[in-house]
């Protein structure tokens, strides 16, 4: 199993540009998440999904959109990039919320908006 795979690993965007961070998992997990991590800080939840066709906002959803057309894929869309969106983005998946489960994280995507 590849686990959670996210691309690209590094990207530089100009203010106002759009882009999509791709995320796919091959563990047949129902739950998927997008987090952002600012320097020296913990992870903040952007959006999450409990299954195909279902998405919900997390703590910091503004400026982002997601979709979940399949169980495997959970892309994160930035429509109008802003410097405040410079961060490291982590996609993650889990079989369920908790009760002995763990969340599996991707390797991260470093995004710089200039």
């Amino acid at each position: 199993n590849a686990g959670v795979t996210q691309t690209p690993k590094f990207r530089i965007l100009k203010i106002g540009q759009s882009m999509t961070l791709q995320c796919t998992q091959d563990m047949n997990h129902n739950y998927m998440y997008w987090y952002r991590q600012d320097p020296g800080m913990g992870l903040k939840l952007i959006y999450y999904s409990v299954g195909a066709g279902i998405t919900d906002k997390g703590e910091v959803p503004n400026g982002y959109n997601v979709s979940r057309s399949t169980t495997e894929d959970f892309p994160l869309r930035l429509e109008l990039a802003a410097p405040s969106q410079t961060s490291v983005y982590f996609c993650a998946s889990s079989y369920s919320w908790a009760s002995g489960n763990t969340i599996y994280f991707g390797e991260g995507s470093w995004l710089t908006v200039v």
Binding site: G42, L43, G100, T102, F105
Partner: protein
């Protein structure tokens, strides 16, 4: 403010000594806690978890202690090694009226192991 936070942002430990990383939480509805290790340039890696009906759980060289009375969580690493140098996060899962919530992460503690 955040429900989950850490007492010490940085911790330096001599190689071979034991490390203790602390975490405080404020939500009494939190019922599941996880410790993650994050090495530079990588995603968080699961270390150990504990449910709220337990007060201690041991893994390989790691022990998590949960004190629900004071809402405190700690991670103990025995015989700390250079490879343990990383940022450690605690995270909690809160039981809400419609089920559990996604994990809430604390800010992290950087552990530096001195050889």
């Amino acid at each position: 403010g955040e429900s989950v936070g850490l007492h010490l942002p940085t911790l330096s430990v001599q190689e071979g000594d034991n490390s203790i990383i602390n975490c405080a939480y404020s939500n009494s509805a939190s019922d599941y806690f996880i410790w993650y290790k994050q090495e530079s340039g990588k995603g968080p890696q699961f270390i150990i978890d504990i449910r709220s009906n337990m007060d201690k759980r041991q893994g390989q060289r790691v022990t998590v202690l949960l004190n629900k009375t004071v809402k405190h969580l700690s991670l103990q690493i025995a015989a700390t090694q250079p490879g343990d140098s990383a940022v450690y996060f605690c995270a909690e899962n809160i039981r809400g009226n419609s089920g559990n919530t996604p994990l809430v992460f604390g800010k992290g503690t950087r552990l530096s192991v001195i050889a």
